[in-house]
Every structure is written in C-alpha cells, then in structure tokens.
C-alpha cells in the first residue's frame, strides 16, 4: 500500500522544516557586517578567479558517460543483493558472469587510458 511510504513523507516534512527553521533563525539572529571578501563566492578557501560561466573541458563528458554506465550496472546489483543469501551459489555465479563481462569493459577503458586526464 502507498501508505507504507508514510515514513518517507514524514522525513521529507522534517527535512524541509529543519532547513527552513535553521536558515530563518540564523538570518534573524546572526550579525550582518558584509565586506567585499565576505561577499565573494566561497571556493574551498581559495581566492576565486575568472568568470564562473566559462566552458569546461570536454574531458568531463567521458567521465560523465562512464559514470552513467557504471551507475546502471549498480542498479542491477540492488534486487540481487536483497536476497543473495537465498539465491545461494547459483545467484553468485550468475552475478559473477555479469560482473566478469563488465570487467572486460573496465579493463579496456583502463588500458585505453580512459581514466587518465591527459
């Protein structure tokens, strides 16, 4: 029944309420003394340089594509992992074949330098 998902709804409400209360309280009670340095975007403590709206390297695209493929692989682990004890050795061997085929691709990407930046 969808009502079984009520805990998720409760969690969503609590999370939104927590974020709203925390932000409202800090903006109501916190001191405000803006300086030029304080208003800069925070970038891990480094002084930001250049425009944020420049093009990024095409190399990121390969990273994203590889991420999607391994992400889809992970999805197939999920229903299997839920009951892999009941599937016993049979299920383990089948998942082994699945992973082995994908391992060929992984080794191929590695050998071709797909994980290298340059």
């Amino acid at each position: 029944m969808p009502i079984d998902y009520l805990p998720i709804l409760v969690m969503v409400v609590v999370v939104v309420a927590f974020a709203a209360i925390a932000l409202t309280l800090s903006s109501l009670t916190g001191p405000r003394h803006p300086t030029a340095a304080k208003l800069e975007p925070y970038e891990s403590g480094m002084p930001p340089f250049g425009s944020a709206r420049r093009r990024i390297s095409i190399k990121y695209y390969l990273t994203a594509v590889l991420f999607i493929l391994f992400d889809i692989e992970i999805i197939f682990f999920y229903p299997w992992a839920v009951l892999f004890r009941q599937l016993k050795l049979f299920g383990l061997v089948e998942m082994g074949v699945f992973v082995l085929i994908l391992l060929i691709g992984y080794v191929y990407v590695w050998r071709k330098g797909g994980f290298n930046w340059d």
Binding site: A64, L83, L87, V109
Partner: protein, 166 residues
C-alpha cells in the same frame, strides 16, 4: 482505510504538480542551466509518482539513473558548449513546428493507449516483497536478458572510449 486513500490522492496531485511545474520551467526558462534544474525537479515529481504507484524499483531507478546520472550528463553538455554558458539562449529554433507535431503525435498515441487499456487493479501486497521477487526473477526467468544487459553495457563502454579517443 479512507484516510490512507485520501492521502494517496493528495500525494498524487502534489507530485503531479511538482512534475508539471518542473517540466514547464524546463521549456520556458531562458538560462539553460536553470532549465536543466527544472527538468531535475520534474524527474523528482515523476519518481514520487512511481512511489505512489508502488513501483518502488522504477522509482529508485528514476532517482539513481535520471536524477543522479542523466542530469549530470545534461549539465555537463551545457557547460562544455560554447555560447550556451555565456548568453541566455533562445528557447525556440527553426525546428519548433516539427517538434510540436511529434510531441502532439506522441501525446495522441499515449492518450489512445491509456484509454483503451484495461487496467487491472493491483492485488494488495506488502511493498517489501516486490524487490526480492524482481531479484529472484532476474536470475531465473529473465536470466538471459539479465546477462545480455552486461553485454549491452560492455558495448556502450567500448563505444564511449572509441568515440572519445578519436
């Protein structure tokens, strides 16, 4: 029982509204990064509807693949395209008539299927046994498609590298 049904209706309408608002933002906003964020909002609404429909696995796939990976790919595609990052792009190009026609055709087909299909009522079940059942089917009944998926992913991996190396 009645409150449970009422809550389900409320959840469905709220989630549908989120999906529609996200889709509307995605096609109307002029800044493409914001349009992509609108699309992610739409994906989230659809994932919620899948939960309401008790399609738990599809909902999780929607979150992990679409919100997690496809959105990243779309944002990267925007960020590495010249011109899209610097100026607000027009939301229309010369192909809008064809796109509108295809969109309406798609809607007509889906609408026809939706009203002519006999929708069987789902049997009452507990949610916790759906995913184990899928897992069991995956390694017995659908073993061959399951292993074929790994071959498909392998082909996609090799294809991505071959194209990227050129």
């Amino acid at each position: 029982m009645l409150t449970s049904q009422f809550l389900t209706y409320v959840a469905f309408f709220v989630l549908s509204a989120i999906a529609l608002i996200g889709a509307f933002l995605a096609v109307t906003l002029r800044n493409l990064v914001r349009a992509a964020l609108g699309l992610i909002l739409s994906f989230m609404g659809v994932a919620g509807i899948y939960f309401v429909l008790e399609a738990e696995f599809v909902a999780i796939v929607q979150v992990i693949i679409y919100i997690g990976a496809i959105s990243v790919l779309i944002l990267f595609a925007i960020m590495l395209t010249r011109g899209l990052m610097t100026s607000a792009a027009s939301t229309q190009n010369s192909q809008w008539i064809g796109a509108a026609f295809v969109g309406m055709l798609m809607f007509a087909v889906l609408f026809f299927v939706a009203i002519t299909t006999n929708w069987p009522l789902a049997q009452p079940h507990t949610i916790s046994d759906l995913i184990p059942r899928l897992g069991a089917d995956l390694v017995t009944t659908y073993l061959l498609p399951f292993e074929a998926v790994s071959l498909l992913l392998l082909a996609a991996l090799i294809g991505a590298i071959v194209i990227a190396r050129e």
